[in-house]
Symmetry: C2
Subunit: 126 residues, 2 copies
DNA sequence: TCAAAGTGTTAGCCTATACTAACAATAATA
DNA sequence: TATTATTGTTAGTATAGGCTAACACTTTGA
């Protein structure tokens, strides 16, 4: 079945953690997301079954090609949306929280339109 | 408990239908949303229990004050977001679909920032 | 009048996704 | 080495919110 919103969130979290830590395991994901170990264990099993991540013998998680694609796409959306909201005057925390919700439901079409708009309306620091 | 995304969607639908029909009943909501009668029946029961709508002896649905507030807020978000996306070059259908998702998850803060931005950047027809 | 259509409800099922409790396996250390 | 801590899994629970099947009214109209 297609990846749900929560699946995207797990992949994005794994990406972010792997940019910060040498290795990523389920417990790191649980701590980062504020979820219980069993919830993450289950999610990891599903993501693995569907080919989005691999888990090696030591319990280290890695994104597969398709998993990484989704994680990066989601993360790009997050960064750009949050930046855009901040530029509109929204505080960082709210901007990030909203980006975190919207990144999963927005279409590629609309995201790209916002991206183009945001890039166009950048005010250079003269 | 707090109103969920689906509850907002029901209230918004009832508002839209009541602007279009003399009376609104569960079956109209079901047809409009593409849901089954039992799903709507259940949702109507919950919305009624929580004081967002009333149902009279003939099965006609009305928004209460709090229900109308939420419906109007949600609808306002929908309209403004969709317009904004369309102005950025997104086709109507996609813009509306995205607005429909985002309207439920965006914070008031971020919505107002987008609203202000959208109003500022209106290009008057000279 | 009596059958058919329209409307709503009840009962029970399904999926997604979180949770706790309890256990198992491994690693670290007194 | 024996205990404790860390990590992961299993089993079962809960909530939200769809669904179908089946039934009960009510209204309509031949």
């Amino acid at each position: 079945m297609a990846l749900q919103e929560s699946g995207e969130m797990y992949l994005e979290t794994i990406l972010i953690l792997s940019n910060r830590l040498a290795t990523v395991r389920a417990i790191d994901v649980a701590e980062q997301m504020g979820y219980s170990k069993p919830s993450v264990s289950r999610a990891v099993g599903l993501l693995k079954k569907d080919g989005y991540i691999t888990v090696d013998g030591d319990g280290f998680l890695s994104l597969t090609h398709s998993g990484r694609q989704i994680a990066e796409q989601t993360y790009e959306r997050h960064i750009l949306l949050a930046k855009f909201f901040i530029r509109l005057g929204v505080d960082e925390e709210t901007a990030s929280a909203d980006a975190c919700k919207i990144e999963h439901v927005i279409s590629q079409t609309t995201f790209e339109a916002i991206k183009k708009h945001a890039e166009q309306s950048i005010q250079p620091d003269v």
